[in-house]
């Protein structure tokens, strides 16, 4: 039994280990380890395409995480005690967002936005004062962020709602009885209690957006995110540079997730006390 467990752990970690190991390979060839070197890290960090893609990914992930955690938390709080059609509508949309494959969300968003932009652009041009260049709506960073925010906001609503439902409602009622304004109750009672869940939601949203390939592939327009860059490089073959990028990305995602985990746990132990 123990031996079996060890085998599964080897299965899980050997491939990751190989990538990390070969990222330090001095040689070019994938199959032979020619000695230790950090040259591929240097190359990756000096490659303008990689740095551009990284910047795009970080920016998109950051804006997505901010929007998703803010709007998701607002909705989760407002949804407390809401019943009837509004509740059904929200639950259905959250369920659909989670359930529908990412690839379908990606293509649906692409064709819907391209079609809507196709209608709006001539309209904008006709409304624009003569002589000036009217703005052209097209796929790019804003559409990428909008699509990622849609999905991660659904995740944040679920996470924050779970935390709210574990909360003692009497606390909020007590606060109201003591003449706190709704805003005061939120700031001094609700927010400190759900802060760990919001932060965890923020970090999960960031990681999702940063790692996502399939939705970005369709809606990013001419922008190249890091996963898109990695995917197109893989198509051209295995290089140590990609190993170095992969190792760095895995390391960074791990750090974020460990942070999220610690925050969630701290929040849980706090509310138990």
């Amino acid at each position: 039994m123990r031996l079996y467990a060890i085998c599964v752990y080897l299965f899980l970690y050997i491939p990751i280990g190989i990538i990390a190991l070969f990222s330090f390979n001095a040689g070019r060839h994938a199959s032979q380890f020619m000695g230790f070197s950090t040259q591929w890290y240097g190359r990756a960090l000096n490659n303008p395409f990689v740095m551009d893609a990284l910047e795009t990914s970080l920016l998109a992930a950051f804006i997505t995480a901010c929007l998703a955690s803010t709007l998701g938390t607002m909705a989760a709080i407002a949804l407390q005690g809401v019943k009837g059609w509004l509740r059904t509508l929200f639950d259905a949309m959250i369920y659909i967002a989670i359930m529908i494959p990412g690839i379908v969300i990606g293509i649906a968003t692409l064709i819907a936005l391209v079609t809507v932009f196709g209608w709006l652009n001539p309209l904008l041009a006709s409304l624009w004062p003569d002589g000036a260049n009217p703005p052209q709506l097209s796929m790019g960073m804003p559409t990428l962020v909008a699509a990622h925010t849609m999905f991660t906001m659904a995740l944040v609503i679920i996470i924050v709602r779970a935390r709210l439902s574990g909360m003692d409602r009497a606390l909020m009622e007590a606060s109201a009885d003591l003449f706190a304004t709704p805003w005061g109750t939120f700031r001094q009672v609700t927010l400190p209690l759900i802060a760990p869940a919001i932060l965890a939601g923020f970090l999960l949203s960031f990681t999702f957006s940063f790692d996502d390939f399939i939705i970005a592939f369709f809606v990013a327009g001419s922008e190249t995110t890091l996963p898109i860059y990695i995917f197109s490089s893989i198509r051209r073959g295995v290089t140590p540079e990609i190993n170095a990028i992969g190792t760095m990305v895995m390391g960074a995602s791990l750090l974020l997730l460990v942070a999220a985990q610690l925050l969630l746990r701290r929040g849980a132990s706090k509310s138990n006390n």
Partner: protein, 283 residues
């Protein structure tokens, strides 16, 4: 401001966002699936079932998905179950949390990079070269259904282990002792007590993995090399290469419907299994 007004104000951004970025796009796919392809690609409004009639042209993609998604789910289950059992029942509590985290950690790193790792291992200079040195020649692993299956199991194993672990962890260990005290062999105890009680975990794990596999694109794209392709790969091809939006929409709608139908059949099956379990425990 009234309570109602405040709630509406808080809900509006998320609600509008979901309507515009989720409901509207899905509606567009539904409408487009009844349209026609434009001369230069894209979409021309029409009402025709032509696109759906054309679905058999992409039968291979559906066939691959409908074979490899269940197969991959079962393979992941078979490998995950003993590990989850070990973690929940056999492993010392001191190590349990750390070992569990070690299972989940890979899931949160990019699946793109993790699948890419297998190009190394399964590619010509990886395992096949190793096998050749011990006398087994001409083994081709990359770009085969086997490679895609390995990628699937590798990618989704954590998602399978976790729910099974949770259901086994909740199981009252005294039941196992009682079964042993009553003279059951360990195997019989497992079959008649442990396994039935872990059905909810198995059901959740299988459903999560299956749903994700139905829309899979990356693993077949990276490890199947164009030879083993899923519906997801066909969709990328239809939308980005041939720009056939109407037909692509019909394929996407069909994928979603097939997925919903299989999942609901599966849920019915599981709930019936759950019902049987209750009968047994009543006796």
């Amino acid at each position: 401001m009234t309570e109602r007004g405040r709630k509406a104000l808080l809900l509006a951004p998320a609600g509008i966002w979901l309507l515009v970025m989720l409901a509207l796009p899905l509606l567009v796919v539904f409408v487009f699936s009844f349209g026609e392809r434009g001369a230069a690609g894209g979409y021309v409004p029409a009402f025709t079932l032509e696109q759906y009639a054309n679905l058999p042209a992409r039968w291979t993609a559906f066939k691959n998905t409908l074979i490899l998604a269940p197969l991959g789910t079962i393979a992941a289950l078979v490998i995950a179950y003993p590990l989850a059992y070990f973690l929940a029942v056999r492993c010392s509590p001191k190590w349990r949390t750390s070992l569990l985290i070690l299972v989940i950690v890979p899931f949160w790193t990019s699946i793109l990079i993790r699948s890419y790792a297998w190009i190394f291992i399964l590619g010509g200079r990886g395992l096949p070269a190793l096998l050749e040195s011990i006398g087994i020649d001409d083994i081709r692993l990359i770009n085969t259904p086997f490679a895609v299956l390995v990628g699937i199991v590798y990618g989704y194993l954590p998602l399978m282990v976790f729910p099974i672990f949770v259901s086994l962890d909740k199981l009252d260990k005294r039941l196992l002792e009682a079964s042993a005290d009553l003279g059951s062999t360990p195997w019989r105890t497992f079959r008649q007590v442990t396994l039935p009680l872990s059905v909810p975990g198995i059901a959740t794990g299988c459903m999560l993995v299956f749903i994700l596999l139905m829309g899979e694109f990356l693993i077949p794209a990276i490890l199947g090399g164009g030879k083993v392709f899923f519906v997801g790969n066909a969709l990328v091809d239809l939308f980005l290469q041939s720009r056939n939006w109407a037909y692509g929409s019909a394929v996407a709608m069909t994928l979603v419907v097939v997925m919903l139908v299989t999942v609901s059949i599966y849920m019915k099956f599981i709930s019936r299994l759950g019902g049987q379990r209750e009968d047994v425990s009543l006796m």
